[in-house]
Amino acid sequence: MRIRRMWPGDLAGVAAVYRARGAVSAGPLARDRKHWRRLRSNKASRGLWWVAKDRGRIVGYACGFVEDAAGFGLEVVWVPTLDGTDVPSLLVDRIFRVFRRRTPIARAIWFMAGSPVAPFVRARMPPPRPPSSVFMAAVTNERALVRDALEILRRRKVQGLALRVGAARGKTSGRTTAVMTANPNVLLGLLFGIRQIDDELRTARVGVRPNTAESRALLRAAFPPRRFWIQDAW
Protein backbone atom coordinates (compact mmCIF):
# COMPACT_ATOMS: atom_id res chain seq x y z
CA MET A 1 0.00 0.00 0.00
CA ARG A 2 1.38 3.41 -0.83
CA ILE A 3 0.25 7.03 -0.68
CA ARG A 4 0.90 9.23 -3.68
CA ARG A 5 -0.37 12.43 -5.25
CA MET A 6 -3.66 12.14 -7.06
CA TRP A 7 -3.51 12.05 -10.86
CA PRO A 8 -6.39 13.19 -13.09
CA GLY A 9 -7.18 9.58 -14.01
CA ASP A 10 -7.70 8.71 -10.33
CA LEU A 11 -10.95 10.62 -10.01
CA ALA A 12 -13.15 7.59 -10.81
CA GLY A 13 -11.36 5.60 -8.10
CA VAL A 14 -11.71 8.43 -5.59
CA ALA A 15 -15.43 8.75 -6.33
CA ALA A 16 -15.77 4.98 -5.86
CA VAL A 17 -14.14 5.23 -2.41
CA TYR A 18 -16.59 7.98 -1.47
CA ARG A 19 -19.53 5.91 -2.75
CA ALA A 20 -18.37 2.87 -0.81
CA ARG A 21 -18.22 4.95 2.36
CA GLY A 22 -21.61 6.50 1.61
CA ALA A 23 -23.15 3.03 1.28
CA VAL A 24 -22.49 2.21 4.95
CA SER A 25 -22.55 5.65 6.57
CA ALA A 26 -25.01 8.38 7.33
CA GLY A 27 -24.48 11.92 6.22
CA PRO A 28 -22.14 12.22 3.24
CA LEU A 29 -23.58 14.41 0.51
CA ALA A 30 -24.46 12.68 -2.75
CA ARG A 31 -22.02 13.99 -5.33
CA ASP A 32 -22.39 14.13 -9.06
CA ARG A 33 -19.63 14.74 -11.65
CA LYS A 34 -20.16 18.49 -11.44
CA HIS A 35 -19.61 18.44 -7.68
CA TRP A 36 -16.36 16.47 -8.04
CA ARG A 37 -15.18 18.74 -10.85
CA ARG A 38 -15.82 21.78 -8.68
CA LEU A 39 -13.88 20.29 -5.77
CA ARG A 40 -10.98 19.32 -8.01
CA SER A 41 -10.83 22.66 -9.78
CA ASN A 42 -10.45 24.64 -6.56
CA LYS A 43 -7.11 26.42 -7.00
CA ALA A 44 -6.52 26.48 -3.24
CA SER A 45 -6.46 22.65 -3.29
CA ARG A 46 -4.00 22.31 -6.16
CA GLY A 47 -1.39 19.66 -5.37
CA LEU A 48 -3.16 18.82 -2.10
CA TRP A 49 -4.98 15.64 -3.09
CA TRP A 50 -3.48 12.26 -2.22
CA VAL A 51 -4.63 8.74 -2.83
CA ALA A 52 -3.87 5.50 -1.02
CA LYS A 53 -3.32 2.68 -3.51
CA ASP A 54 -3.32 -0.98 -2.68
CA ARG A 55 -2.68 -3.64 -5.33
CA GLY A 56 -3.53 -1.19 -8.11
CA ARG A 57 -6.81 -0.11 -6.52
CA ILE A 58 -7.52 3.25 -4.86
CA VAL A 59 -8.61 2.50 -1.30
CA GLY A 60 -8.60 5.96 0.24
CA TYR A 61 -7.94 9.61 -0.37
CA ALA A 62 -7.24 12.83 1.48
CA CYS A 63 -7.40 16.44 0.41
CA GLY A 64 -6.89 19.88 1.83
CA PHE A 65 -6.51 23.48 0.79
CA VAL A 66 -4.26 26.40 1.58
CA GLU A 67 -5.54 29.90 2.27
CA ASP A 68 -3.47 32.83 3.52
CA ALA A 69 -0.56 30.58 4.46
CA ALA A 70 -2.85 28.43 6.61
CA GLY A 71 -3.54 24.81 5.68
CA PHE A 72 -6.92 23.16 6.12
CA GLY A 73 -7.65 19.45 6.01
CA LEU A 74 -10.81 18.95 4.00
CA GLU A 75 -11.54 15.26 3.66
CA VAL A 76 -9.97 11.98 4.69
CA VAL A 77 -11.97 9.04 3.36
CA TRP A 78 -11.16 5.36 3.03
CA VAL A 79 -13.10 2.25 2.04
CA PRO A 80 -15.00 0.67 4.95
CA THR A 81 -13.21 -2.67 4.50
CA LEU A 82 -10.02 -0.96 5.67
CA ASP A 83 -11.47 0.29 8.97
CA GLY A 84 -9.01 -0.61 11.70
CA THR A 85 -5.97 -0.56 9.39
CA ASP A 86 -3.27 2.11 9.18
CA VAL A 87 -4.64 3.66 5.94
CA PRO A 88 -6.49 6.58 7.58
CA SER A 89 -3.54 7.25 9.83
CA LEU A 90 -1.14 7.36 6.86
CA LEU A 91 -3.45 9.70 4.94
CA VAL A 92 -3.77 12.09 7.86
CA ASP A 93 0.02 11.94 8.37
CA ARG A 94 0.63 12.85 4.76
CA ILE A 95 -1.71 15.80 4.72
CA PHE A 96 -0.21 17.34 7.86
CA ARG A 97 3.37 16.56 6.84
CA VAL A 98 2.87 18.63 3.69
CA PHE A 99 1.10 21.37 5.62
CA ARG A 100 3.99 21.57 8.08
CA ARG A 101 6.31 22.38 5.17
CA ARG A 102 3.99 24.70 3.26
CA THR A 103 1.85 26.52 5.80
CA PRO A 104 3.90 28.31 8.45
CA ILE A 105 1.06 30.17 10.17
CA ALA A 106 -1.66 27.67 11.02
CA ARG A 107 -3.07 24.23 10.29
CA ALA A 108 -6.66 23.22 10.97
CA ILE A 109 -9.18 20.52 10.31
CA TRP A 110 -12.92 20.40 10.98
CA PHE A 111 -15.04 17.32 11.53
CA MET A 112 -18.31 16.17 13.11
CA ALA A 113 -18.10 14.93 16.69
CA GLY A 114 -17.86 11.15 16.44
CA SER A 115 -16.57 11.14 12.88
CA PRO A 116 -14.29 8.16 12.09
CA VAL A 117 -11.54 10.66 11.21
CA ALA A 118 -11.57 12.13 14.73
CA PRO A 119 -9.17 9.75 16.54
CA PHE A 120 -6.50 10.02 13.83
CA VAL A 121 -6.64 13.80 13.77
CA ARG A 122 -6.78 14.22 17.55
CA ALA A 123 -3.61 12.18 17.86
CA ARG A 124 -1.70 14.71 15.76
CA MET A 125 -3.16 18.05 16.81
CA PRO A 126 -3.33 20.13 19.99
CA PRO A 127 -6.52 19.78 22.07
CA PRO A 128 -9.61 21.24 20.39
CA ARG A 129 -11.06 24.62 21.24
CA PRO A 130 -14.42 24.45 23.03
CA PRO A 131 -17.06 23.56 20.44
CA SER A 132 -18.35 26.69 18.78
CA SER A 133 -20.33 25.30 15.87
CA VAL A 134 -23.21 22.90 15.91
CA PHE A 135 -25.14 20.87 13.36
CA MET A 136 -28.92 21.20 13.72
CA ALA A 137 -31.76 19.35 12.02
CA ALA A 138 -35.54 19.60 11.92
CA VAL A 139 -38.30 17.61 10.31
CA THR A 140 -40.27 19.64 7.79
CA ASN A 141 -42.63 17.00 6.45
CA GLU A 142 -43.63 13.99 8.57
CA ARG A 143 -45.08 11.98 5.69
CA ALA A 144 -41.91 12.46 3.65
CA LEU A 145 -39.86 11.46 6.70
CA VAL A 146 -41.75 8.17 7.04
CA ARG A 147 -41.31 7.57 3.30
CA ASP A 148 -37.53 8.17 3.60
CA ALA A 149 -37.36 6.01 6.74
CA LEU A 150 -39.11 3.10 5.03
CA GLU A 151 -36.71 3.28 2.11
CA ILE A 152 -33.73 3.13 4.48
CA LEU A 153 -35.30 0.26 6.46
CA ARG A 154 -35.90 -1.61 3.20
CA ARG A 155 -32.19 -1.21 2.38
CA ARG A 156 -31.39 -2.58 5.83
CA LYS A 157 -33.71 -5.53 5.14
CA VAL A 158 -35.96 -4.77 8.11
CA GLN A 159 -39.34 -6.53 8.07
CA GLY A 160 -42.44 -6.39 10.23
CA LEU A 161 -41.97 -2.89 11.68
CA ALA A 162 -44.71 -0.25 11.67
CA LEU A 163 -43.89 3.43 12.23
CA ARG A 164 -46.04 6.06 13.90
CA VAL A 165 -44.52 9.48 13.63
CA GLY A 166 -46.82 12.33 14.57
CA ALA A 167 -49.76 12.03 12.21
CA ALA A 168 -47.84 9.95 9.66
CA ARG A 169 -47.99 6.13 9.46
CA GLY A 170 -46.07 3.55 7.48
CA LYS A 171 -44.89 -0.04 7.64
CA THR A 172 -42.18 -2.19 6.19
CA SER A 173 -42.94 -5.38 4.29
CA GLY A 174 -43.92 -8.55 6.14
CA ARG A 175 -46.41 -9.18 8.91
CA THR A 176 -46.23 -6.42 11.52
CA THR A 177 -44.59 -7.67 14.72
CA ALA A 178 -43.71 -4.33 16.35
CA VAL A 179 -45.07 -0.79 16.28
CA MET A 180 -42.63 2.03 16.91
CA THR A 181 -43.81 5.46 18.04
CA ALA A 182 -41.39 8.37 17.88
CA ASN A 183 -41.17 12.11 17.78
CA PRO A 184 -40.21 13.18 14.20
CA ASN A 185 -36.90 14.79 15.22
CA VAL A 186 -35.94 11.67 17.20
CA LEU A 187 -36.61 9.43 14.18
CA LEU A 188 -34.52 11.75 12.00
CA GLY A 189 -31.65 11.58 14.53
CA LEU A 190 -31.92 7.78 14.56
CA LEU A 191 -31.78 7.60 10.78
CA PHE A 192 -28.75 9.88 10.70
CA GLY A 193 -27.10 7.73 13.38
CA ILE A 194 -26.70 10.74 15.65
CA ARG A 195 -29.07 9.29 18.25
CA GLN A 196 -28.77 5.77 19.63
CA ILE A 197 -31.86 3.56 19.82
CA ASP A 198 -31.05 2.17 23.28
CA ASP A 199 -30.78 5.68 24.75
CA GLU A 200 -34.07 6.69 23.14
CA LEU A 201 -35.84 3.57 24.45
CA ARG A 202 -34.43 4.12 27.93
CA THR A 203 -35.59 7.74 28.05
CA ALA A 204 -38.97 6.80 26.49
CA ARG A 205 -38.55 9.17 23.55
CA VAL A 206 -39.19 6.09 21.45
CA GLY A 207 -41.99 3.70 22.31
CA VAL A 208 -42.41 0.15 21.06
CA ARG A 209 -45.39 -2.19 21.23
CA PRO A 210 -45.33 -4.92 22.33
CA ASN A 211 -42.46 -3.97 24.59
CA THR A 212 -40.68 -7.31 24.36
CA ALA A 213 -37.07 -8.35 23.85
CA GLU A 214 -37.93 -9.36 20.25
CA SER A 215 -39.41 -5.96 19.43
CA ARG A 216 -36.42 -4.15 20.90
CA ALA A 217 -34.07 -6.40 18.93
CA LEU A 218 -36.01 -5.52 15.78
CA LEU A 219 -35.54 -1.81 16.52
CA ARG A 220 -31.81 -2.34 17.12
CA ALA A 221 -31.54 -4.01 13.72
CA ALA A 222 -33.53 -1.20 12.13
CA PHE A 223 -31.38 1.56 13.64
CA PRO A 224 -27.86 0.20 14.01
CA PRO A 225 -25.06 2.51 15.23
CA ARG A 226 -23.88 4.70 12.40
CA ARG A 227 -21.26 7.37 12.41
CA PHE A 228 -22.55 10.60 11.07
CA TRP A 229 -20.03 11.56 8.46
CA ILE A 230 -20.91 14.82 6.89
CA GLN A 231 -17.97 16.28 5.03
CA ASP A 232 -19.61 19.24 3.44
CA ALA A 233 -20.61 22.07 5.71
CA TRP A 234 -22.68 24.69 3.97
Partner: protein, 255 residues
Protein backbone atom coordinates in the same frame (compact mmCIF):
# COMPACT_ATOMS: atom_id res chain seq x y z
CA UNK B 1 -40.78 49.82 9.92
CA UNK B 2 -42.55 49.91 6.54
CA UNK B 3 -44.48 47.13 4.86
CA UNK B 4 -42.60 43.84 4.73
CA UNK B 5 -42.68 41.81 1.54
CA UNK B 6 -41.21 38.30 1.47
CA UNK B 7 -40.23 37.09 -1.98
CA UNK B 8 -37.73 34.95 -3.88
CA UNK B 9 -34.52 36.72 -4.84
CA UNK B 10 -33.14 36.75 -8.36
CA UNK B 11 -29.65 37.41 -9.71
CA UNK B 12 -30.66 41.07 -10.04
CA UNK B 13 -30.81 41.32 -6.25
CA UNK B 14 -27.14 40.40 -5.94
CA UNK B 15 -25.85 43.94 -5.16
CA UNK B 16 -28.36 44.37 -2.31
CA UNK B 17 -27.76 40.85 -1.05
CA UNK B 18 -24.03 41.61 -0.97
CA UNK B 19 -24.75 44.43 1.49
CA UNK B 20 -26.87 42.17 3.71
CA UNK B 21 -24.17 39.46 3.72
CA UNK B 22 -21.45 42.03 4.40
CA UNK B 23 -23.35 43.16 7.49
CA UNK B 24 -23.66 39.59 8.71
CA UNK B 25 -20.57 37.64 7.63
CA UNK B 26 -17.73 39.27 5.70
CA UNK B 27 -17.16 41.61 2.75
CA UNK B 28 -19.09 40.30 -0.25
CA UNK B 29 -19.42 41.60 -3.77
CA UNK B 30 -22.38 41.34 -6.13
CA UNK B 31 -20.26 39.17 -8.42
CA UNK B 32 -19.41 36.79 -5.57
CA UNK B 33 -23.08 36.54 -4.59
CA UNK B 34 -24.10 35.78 -8.20
CA UNK B 35 -21.46 33.07 -8.41
CA UNK B 36 -22.64 31.55 -5.11
CA UNK B 37 -26.28 31.60 -6.27
CA UNK B 38 -25.30 29.59 -9.35
CA UNK B 39 -23.24 27.04 -7.41
CA UNK B 40 -25.93 24.67 -6.13
CA UNK B 41 -29.70 24.50 -6.67
CA UNK B 42 -31.13 26.91 -4.18
CA UNK B 43 -33.91 29.32 -3.27
CA UNK B 44 -33.00 32.64 -1.73
CA UNK B 45 -35.85 34.32 0.15
CA UNK B 46 -35.57 37.99 0.99
CA UNK B 47 -37.55 40.34 3.22
CA UNK B 48 -37.99 43.69 1.51
CA UNK B 49 -38.73 46.63 3.80
CA UNK B 50 -39.53 49.97 2.21
CA UNK B 51 -38.07 48.84 -1.11
CA UNK B 52 -34.73 47.70 0.37
CA UNK B 53 -33.62 44.13 1.03
CA UNK B 54 -33.33 43.87 4.80
CA UNK B 55 -32.83 40.15 5.40
CA UNK B 56 -32.19 36.91 3.52
CA UNK B 57 -32.39 33.16 4.03
CA UNK B 58 -31.20 30.53 1.56
CA UNK B 59 -32.30 26.93 1.09
CA UNK B 60 -29.64 24.83 -0.61
CA UNK B 61 -31.19 21.66 -1.99
CA UNK B 62 -28.82 18.82 -1.19
CA UNK B 63 -28.97 15.06 -1.02
CA UNK B 64 -27.59 13.12 1.92
CA UNK B 65 -26.64 9.46 1.74
CA UNK B 66 -27.86 7.16 4.50
CA UNK B 67 -26.65 3.60 3.89
CA UNK B 68 -26.59 4.50 0.21
CA UNK B 69 -30.22 5.73 0.17
CA UNK B 70 -30.55 9.27 -1.14
CA UNK B 71 -32.40 11.55 1.28
CA UNK B 72 -33.15 15.07 0.15
CA UNK B 73 -32.47 17.82 2.66
CA UNK B 74 -33.00 21.55 2.68
CA UNK B 75 -29.72 23.01 3.86
CA UNK B 76 -30.31 26.39 5.46
CA UNK B 77 -27.55 28.89 4.72
CA UNK B 78 -26.95 32.62 4.52
CA UNK B 79 -29.33 33.64 7.31
CA UNK B 80 -28.51 37.34 7.41
CA UNK B 81 -30.14 40.61 8.42
CA UNK B 82 -28.94 44.14 7.82
CA UNK B 83 -27.68 45.73 11.00
CA UNK B 84 -30.43 48.37 11.26
CA UNK B 85 -33.26 45.81 10.86
CA UNK B 86 -32.11 43.30 13.47
CA UNK B 87 -34.38 42.16 16.31
CA UNK B 88 -37.61 42.69 14.35
CA UNK B 89 -38.45 39.09 13.50
CA UNK B 90 -37.43 39.23 9.83
CA UNK B 91 -35.20 36.13 10.00
CA UNK B 92 -37.96 34.19 11.79
CA UNK B 93 -40.42 35.16 9.10
CA UNK B 94 -38.05 34.08 6.34
CA UNK B 95 -37.20 30.82 8.09
CA UNK B 96 -40.90 29.99 8.40
CA UNK B 97 -41.30 30.65 4.69
CA UNK B 98 -38.31 28.38 3.96
CA UNK B 99 -39.72 25.54 6.10
CA UNK B 100 -43.15 25.86 4.43
CA UNK B 101 -41.45 25.66 1.03
CA UNK B 102 -39.59 22.49 2.03
CA UNK B 103 -42.80 20.91 3.31
CA UNK B 104 -44.62 21.75 0.07
CA UNK B 105 -41.79 20.21 -1.96
CA UNK B 106 -42.06 16.94 -0.03
CA UNK B 107 -38.60 17.26 1.54
CA UNK B 108 -38.55 15.52 4.88
CA UNK B 109 -35.92 17.52 6.72
CA UNK B 110 -33.90 20.64 6.99
CA UNK B 111 -30.32 20.90 8.27
CA UNK B 112 -27.94 23.71 9.13
CA UNK B 113 -24.68 24.63 10.81
CA UNK B 114 -24.57 27.52 13.25
CA UNK B 115 -22.57 28.92 16.15
CA UNK B 116 -23.41 27.84 19.71
CA UNK B 117 -23.13 31.43 20.83
CA UNK B 118 -25.20 33.16 18.16
CA UNK B 119 -28.68 34.44 19.03
CA UNK B 120 -29.93 32.87 15.80
CA UNK B 121 -29.80 29.49 17.55
CA UNK B 122 -32.86 30.57 19.58
CA UNK B 123 -34.82 31.15 16.38
CA UNK B 124 -33.86 27.72 15.07
CA UNK B 125 -34.88 26.01 18.33
CA UNK B 126 -38.23 27.81 18.31
CA UNK B 127 -38.83 26.57 14.76
CA UNK B 128 -38.25 22.93 15.70
CA UNK B 129 -34.53 22.46 15.04
CA UNK B 130 -32.58 20.47 17.57
CA UNK B 131 -28.83 20.41 18.15
CA UNK B 132 -27.63 17.07 16.85
CA UNK B 133 -23.86 17.13 16.83
CA UNK B 134 -20.89 19.42 17.43
CA UNK B 135 -18.76 20.56 14.53
CA UNK B 136 -15.25 20.47 15.94
CA UNK B 137 -12.23 22.41 14.77
CA UNK B 138 -8.67 21.48 15.68
CA UNK B 139 -6.04 24.18 15.24
CA UNK B 140 -2.28 24.13 15.32
CA UNK B 141 -0.83 27.64 15.34
CA UNK B 142 2.97 27.61 15.24
CA UNK B 143 3.29 31.36 14.65
CA UNK B 144 0.63 33.13 16.76
CA UNK B 145 1.68 36.77 15.98
CA UNK B 146 1.48 36.06 12.25
CA UNK B 147 -1.85 34.33 12.74
CA UNK B 148 -3.13 37.38 14.66
CA UNK B 149 -1.87 39.61 11.86
CA UNK B 150 -4.08 37.71 9.41
CA UNK B 151 -7.07 37.92 11.73
CA UNK B 152 -6.67 41.68 12.10
CA UNK B 153 -6.02 42.17 8.38
CA UNK B 154 -9.45 40.64 7.89
CA UNK B 155 -10.95 43.03 10.48
CA UNK B 156 -9.30 45.95 8.65
CA UNK B 157 -10.98 44.80 5.46
CA UNK B 158 -14.40 44.00 6.88
CA UNK B 159 -15.26 46.37 9.72
CA UNK B 160 -15.11 49.70 7.81
CA UNK B 161 -17.67 48.26 5.39
CA UNK B 162 -20.26 47.88 8.14
CA UNK B 163 -22.14 50.56 10.08
CA UNK B 164 -21.33 49.00 13.48
CA UNK B 165 -17.65 48.59 12.61
CA UNK B 166 -17.34 52.19 11.40
CA UNK B 167 -18.83 53.50 14.61
CA UNK B 168 -16.56 51.62 16.94
CA UNK B 169 -13.37 52.06 14.94
CA UNK B 170 -13.83 55.83 14.89
CA UNK B 171 -13.17 55.84 18.65
CA UNK B 172 -10.56 53.09 18.92
CA UNK B 173 -6.89 54.07 19.13
CA UNK B 174 -5.79 51.89 22.05
CA UNK B 175 -2.62 49.84 22.07
CA UNK B 176 -3.04 46.23 23.21
CA UNK B 177 -0.42 43.81 24.48
CA UNK B 178 -1.22 40.12 24.19
CA UNK B 179 1.10 38.21 26.47
CA UNK B 180 1.62 34.47 27.00
CA UNK B 181 4.52 32.50 28.45
CA UNK B 182 5.89 31.70 24.96
CA UNK B 183 5.09 34.70 22.83
CA UNK B 184 3.69 38.21 22.94
CA UNK B 185 2.28 40.64 20.41
CA UNK B 186 1.22 44.27 20.18
CA UNK B 187 -1.94 45.31 18.34
CA UNK B 188 -2.39 48.92 17.21
CA UNK B 189 -4.87 50.75 15.00
CA UNK B 190 -4.02 54.02 13.20
CA UNK B 191 -7.55 54.90 12.13
CA UNK B 192 -7.38 52.80 8.97
CA UNK B 193 -5.36 49.66 9.51
CA UNK B 194 -4.70 47.25 12.34
CA UNK B 195 -1.06 46.35 12.83
CA UNK B 196 0.20 43.34 14.78
CA UNK B 197 3.87 43.12 15.73
CA UNK B 198 5.61 40.44 17.76
CA UNK B 199 6.80 41.48 21.21
CA UNK B 200 5.65 44.18 23.60
CA UNK B 201 6.03 47.66 22.10
CA UNK B 202 5.10 50.95 23.72
CA UNK B 203 2.88 51.62 26.70
CA UNK B 204 -0.31 49.51 26.51
CA UNK B 205 -3.87 50.66 27.19
CA UNK B 206 -5.07 47.06 27.41
CA UNK B 207 -3.15 43.94 28.42
CA UNK B 208 -4.53 40.50 27.64
CA UNK B 209 -2.61 37.76 29.42
CA UNK B 210 -2.99 34.01 29.49
CA UNK B 211 -1.98 30.65 28.08
CA UNK B 212 -1.42 30.14 24.34
CA UNK B 213 -4.91 28.63 24.23
CA UNK B 214 -6.30 32.17 24.62
CA UNK B 215 -6.35 32.18 20.81
CA UNK B 216 -9.34 29.83 21.05
CA UNK B 217 -11.55 32.75 21.98
CA UNK B 218 -10.98 34.57 18.68
CA UNK B 219 -14.36 35.04 17.04
CA UNK B 220 -16.23 33.32 19.86
CA UNK B 221 -17.88 35.37 22.58
CA UNK B 222 -18.93 32.42 24.78
CA UNK B 223 -15.36 31.08 24.91
CA UNK B 224 -14.00 34.58 25.61
CA UNK B 225 -16.39 35.03 28.55
CA UNK B 226 -15.76 31.53 29.88
CA UNK B 227 -11.98 31.99 29.72
CA UNK B 228 -12.31 35.31 31.49
CA UNK B 229 -14.39 33.77 34.26
CA UNK B 230 -12.09 30.79 34.82
CA UNK B 231 -8.89 32.86 34.61
CA UNK B 232 -7.52 31.40 31.35
CA UNK B 233 -7.33 35.01 30.19
CA UNK B 234 -6.73 38.04 32.38
CA UNK B 235 -7.47 41.54 31.15
CA UNK B 236 -6.15 44.86 32.40
CA UNK B 237 -7.19 48.30 31.25
CA UNK B 238 -9.95 50.89 31.17
CA UNK B 239 -13.48 49.37 31.28
CA UNK B 240 -14.54 51.10 28.05
CA UNK B 241 -11.42 49.91 26.22
CA UNK B 242 -11.95 46.37 27.52
CA UNK B 243 -15.53 46.33 26.25
CA UNK B 244 -14.42 47.42 22.77
CA UNK B 245 -11.51 44.98 22.77
CA UNK B 246 -13.90 42.15 23.63
CA UNK B 247 -16.02 43.09 20.61
CA UNK B 248 -12.96 43.32 18.39
CA UNK B 249 -11.79 39.87 19.45
CA UNK B 250 -15.10 38.07 19.41
CA UNK B 251 -16.75 39.89 16.49
CA UNK B 252 -19.85 40.27 18.57
CA UNK B 253 -21.36 42.44 15.84
CA UNK B 254 -21.94 39.39 13.73
CA UNK B 255 -25.05 38.85 15.79
Amino acid sequence: MGRIVVRRATARDAPNLAIVYTHAFEPRTARGVRRWMALVPQDVFVAVVGGAIAAAVTIEYRTLLVDGVRIRTGGIAGVATRWEYRGRGLATRLMKKALRTLKARGISNSTLFTGHNLPAIRIYRRLGFSEESDWIGLWEIPDPPKWLEKRFAWRTKWLPKTPFGKEILSKWRSRVHIVTAHWSATVTFDGKTFAVRPGRRGRPDVVMQGASSLLHCWGDRSVFDRYRRNGTIRLRGDTKDLATWRRLVTLEWRE
